[in-house]
């Protein structure tokens, strides 16, 4: 191939009507034809389509083209597509330059003439740069055939089982003492009313026993270094103060603990109690006890009676107050973030009286109340002892903390309509003479079997009242829901025994931790941001890091499982191919002029630059060195370097300055 003299092909895309309806395609094409070094200029309805790409490949072969300019959409959209086209046509893929005449022209300008004139300029600028492009080689690195999964809810569990099942090593890191996540707290699951524990427990057990899975519970990721295919991970295993090799899970310690039944249980969503030494729930995996350092008398005060009860009663000597946090380190090729969600804190809407009234519950608390494994054995009773009673008049309030700008959550939480239908059904089933009403603003029953389930629950006698309540207060000892029935336009005050707040799903409060570790972004709803909302819903902007489950946004269990399988598949593609190409458009340091100031080291957000030494005319001097595997080609160092000693491949000064000059920007 003759690369000496540039022979440029320009391809102007219509993008259906996306570009063509505003930009005069023919005007751009004929103008391109007149530019220096341009051998052919063509237009086509969809350049990214097969026939569109074929045009380029044929011209490379027949016209001897050696540089290609595609005037179409953003490089973010199709740069990779066209690089592949070049490669298939026998050209180095980096001989491609794109002019973005969609996002930068047709989508943002209404005036056709101006849009066309801007499109011409962008094409001319791209042509100016294209003739100066250089071929680049993509380096390949090996992929460590292992995956880290952060979070052991249903999302993490499913992804772990899939990847392990495909024969690769998986490390699951779960913060709490057991895997299972929120699903383990649910009683039945909509819309099929499967018992949550019955379908979840087997999977939890599988995760613990799978030979390819290493389960690290009560643990937390401390540090992640490296890059796609080669992450180095450091995990802190928090001290349980119980030797898990000795502990058989018999539970005598928990019965005997001086604080037994006195500490609010996380698993019971606060409505049940545990001791300082505890198993979160009977089916917990691993079935090993943990001492809560925040409540344990011995750990907080150095003394628990004469001898701690747990020590006294554990015949196996498993209690170990000397235990320290441990650190484990390992390498993985891929990471899946499956950290789930928090339920909305109902005290942030004080008008509903959650913090003032015992009989105002959140839906998660109700899940525990109706659950056979919950604190009341599944009986719906409120109050204690003498005051205990079965609530007959029950009101659900929908959208608490969702679709609500007044508390900063504008999104719909997607599961509350359906879990409310489920919980309303369970109340009707357990207390047949109860009157259950649901105060709603819209019912969203979009999933498979959802509308049918909603139909069923209404026909069971659950009343749906269209109006989102504004307030809950007490009058003469009774809870009063203040609302409007918007269908009859009647304001009302409804006296009830129990109010259930259908709380929404929120990003976890510790979201920041993972962001800092993995350099993830958040979308406007504060959940983790996917690489593309439609076409890359499980990928992130960090190569090799994927998302699964509610960490990416509220979703139900079917969607969570589907997405977990998607994330597993993405990770598996990487692991199975065993190799990954790393960024070719990286920075290079001119060691002859670098002054060794080290400023770039500070600037680089990826930690890709270190200081090294070279021998310059007999003197050992310090210069910047780029770690090619870590460099993402962001260009920050280039812009920051005081002596102009760093250049980024494909974006060298001598390549982009002529491009800028064509745009009419005078230096």
């Amino acid at each position: 191939m003759n690369n000496n003299k540039p022979k440029i092909g320009v391809y102007v895309c219509h993008c259906g009507v996306n570009i063509a309806k505003t930009v005069d395609i023919e005007a751009v094409r004929s103008y391109a034809e007149s530019l220096p070094y341009v051998k052919v200029a063509r237009n086509y309805s969809y350049m990214c389509s097969d026939p569109g790409q074929l045009l380029i490949k044929e011209d490379i072969a027949e016209e001897g083209l050696n540089r290609i300019v595609v005037a179409s959409c953003s490089p973010r959209m199709h740069e990779l597509t066209f690089r592949k086209t070049l490669a298939e046509g026998g050209l180095n893929p980096y001989y491609l330059e794109m002019a973005n005449i969609r996002e930068q022209c047709s989508w943002v300008h209404e005036d056709s003439e101006e849009a066309t004139s801007k499109a011409r300029k962008l094409v001319a600028a791209a042509v100016a740069k294209a003739r100066l492009l250089e071929p680049l080689e993509e380096k390949e690195v090996e992929v460590e055939p292992a995956t880290l999964i952060i979070g052991g809810g249903i999302a993490g569990i499913q992804a772990a089982l899939d990847i392990a099942g495909a024969g690769f090593k998986v490390y699951v890191v779960e913060k709490t003492p057991s895997v299972g996540g929120k699903m383990s707290q649910l009683d039945k699951t909509f819309p099929t009313l499967d018992c949550s524990a019955c379908i979840l427990t087997p999977k939890m057990v599988d995760v613990a026993s799978h030979p390819n899975i290493e389960l690290l519970t009560y643990s937390q990721v401390e540090d992640v270094q490296g890059y796609v295919g080669n992450f180095e991970v450091k995990v802190r295993k928090k001290a349980r103060y119980v030797d898990i090799d000795k502990c058989t899970g018999c539970g005598i310690c928990a019965q005997e603990c001086r604080l037994a039944g006195r500490i609010p249980s996380e698993y019971e969503a606060g409505i049940g109690k545990r001791g300082a030494i505890y198993l979160p729930f009977p089916q917990a995996v691993p079935a090993k006890f943990t001492i809560d350092p925040e409540s344990c008398l011995y750990l907080t005060r150095g003394k628990c009676g004469k001898e701690p009860k747990c020590v006294e009663h554990c015949s196996l000597g498993a209690i170990d107050f000397e235990q320290q946090d441990e650190f484990v380190e390992f390498k993985v090729g891929a990471i899946i973030v499956a950290t789930g969600y928090d339920v909305f804190d109902a005290s942030r809407k004080p008008e509903y009286g959650y913090q003032d009234y015992d009989n105002v519950l959140t839906s998660l608390e109700l899940e525990r109340l109706v659950s056979a494994s919950g604190p009341t054995g599944g009986e719906i009773v409120l109050g204690k002892g003498e005051e205990a009673f079965v609530p007959k008049e029950v009101a659900f309030i929908q959208c608490v903390g969702s679709r609500d700008a007044s508390c900063g959550n504008e999104y719909c939480s997607r599961v509350c309509c359906m879990y409310t239908a489920k919980l309303a059904h369970l109340i009707k089933e357990k207390v047949p003479d109860s009157n259950v009403r649901v105060y709603y603003m819209d019912v969203r029953a979009f999933g498979k079997g959802f509308e049918e389930f909603y139909d069923r629950v209404r026909r069971e006698g659950v009343r749906y009242i269209r109006g989102n309540p504004s307030e809950v207060f007490k009058r003469d000892g009774k809870l009063v829901v203040k609302a409007e029935d918007t269908l009859t336009a009647k304001p009302l005050e409804d006296e009830v025994d129990m109010v259930v707040l259908s709380v929404g799903l929120e990003p976890r409060k510790d979201t920041r931790e993972i962001i800092d570790l993995l350099r993830l972004s958040q979308s406007s709803d504060r959940f983790y941001l996917e690489a593309h909302p439609k076409l890359a819903p499980v990928d992130t902007a960090t190569d090799g890091v994927y998302l699964a489950g509610c960490a990416q946004g509220p979703k139900d269990i079917p969607d969570t499982v589907a997405q977990a399988k998607g994330a597993a598949s993405s990770a598996l593609i990487l692991l199975a191919s065993g190799k990954v190409n790393i960024q070719a458009q990286i920075s290079v340091v001119n060691e002859a002029t670098c002054r060794g100031c080290g400023y770039c080291v500070e600037i680089c957000p990826y930690g890709a630059i270190e200081m090294g030494e070279v021998n310059r005319f007999g003197h050992i001097v310090s210069v910047a060195k780029v770690n090619e595997a870590l460099c993402k080609g962001c260009g920050a160092c280039v812009a920051g370097c005081f002596s102009g000693s760093i250049q980024q491949k494909s974006f060298k000064d001598r390549q982009i300055l002529p491009q800028i000059a064509v745009l009419g920007v005078v230096k």
Binding site: P350, N468, F473
Partner: protein, 378 residues
Amino acid sequence: MNTELQNFIEKYDLYGCIQCGRCTGGCPVTVRTNLNVRRFVYDSIDEDALEELAKLPEIWDCTACSTCAVRCPKGLKPLEVLIGLRGILVLEGQVEPTVRDALESIFREGNPWSKARATRSDWMEGLDVKVADPETEVENLIFVCCTVVYDPRVQVTVKNLVKILNKADVDYAFVGDDESCCASEAFNLGEEELFEMMVEDNTELLNSFKAKRIVTISPHCFNAFKKQYPDLKAEVLHYTQLIGELLEDKKLEFTKELPQKIVFHDPCFLGKQNDVYDEPRFVLSQIPGAELVEFERNKERSLCCEGGGGKMWVESDSKLERLAETRVKDAHALGADVLAAACPFCILTLDDALKAKGFEEEMKVSEILEIIGDLLEE
């Protein structure tokens, strides 16, 4: 049609409404009047209907408590639709004479009570009061509400405030003769133009002093300065916040006992609209011997007394129990000796209700300043 009217959709973001019903659900006056504010948000989308809607008497039942706006999940201010409709009538001169007089008086005399501007500082007579001058820096510039200045029932609040400020050696100065109405009630009555004019004049006046903070007696002035006066330079405080500070810093102490049961009623413009819940309670809690009790409906869930939103000048047709009466009844049921509030409108409204209920012998309605002014060492 007037361009004002065509602006309704955009001005009040009417298409943003999802008809959830929280506004009407929370509206306190629905238990006694026909007002359904959600319907007005819905119906006002049809600009041809505006004239008719403005004729519905219930648009005058709104107390501007803003519960609807605080609760709206989409950030609308439903009450402002009602105010917009009132505005149509104001433009056409179709308002009650009482309303017309109040507005005219604000325009001419700088107060809604048809009192002569020249008498604004009469209350100072015989008192040792510091008045601001533009040359001298001052930490706290005190702004007195028109109602406090002219209404004999509540004038005692400002007199007591002077006592307290002098006693605690506070760096303060009153605005003085040039002081004019904050015009928050002009806004609520629908007279937006007058309101804008007053905002401009008052901003110029208040910015002409070298003050760090402006302290108001009425929560209505407080709210207006905070939310509707974008160009004010000084920080805005309610007097309960200032007194709270003095107590906390031990610059002020209540020395006399008041062995009484006190229940505090949250003024909507202080509580719901500005989240000032703790300071008034803190001030009351510092009274030796007093026992503080709470309404069932308190703080964010407090019940409006119906004193705001121009209600001083418009009577509702409803014959049902007034909310202020409900409030007085609840306070009585709690066994309270004193029903306290920190707002001149609340005091006037609750006092009327106290009389209507015939509880004057057993219970008192008192402004916080009224209570604490008597608890200082002479």
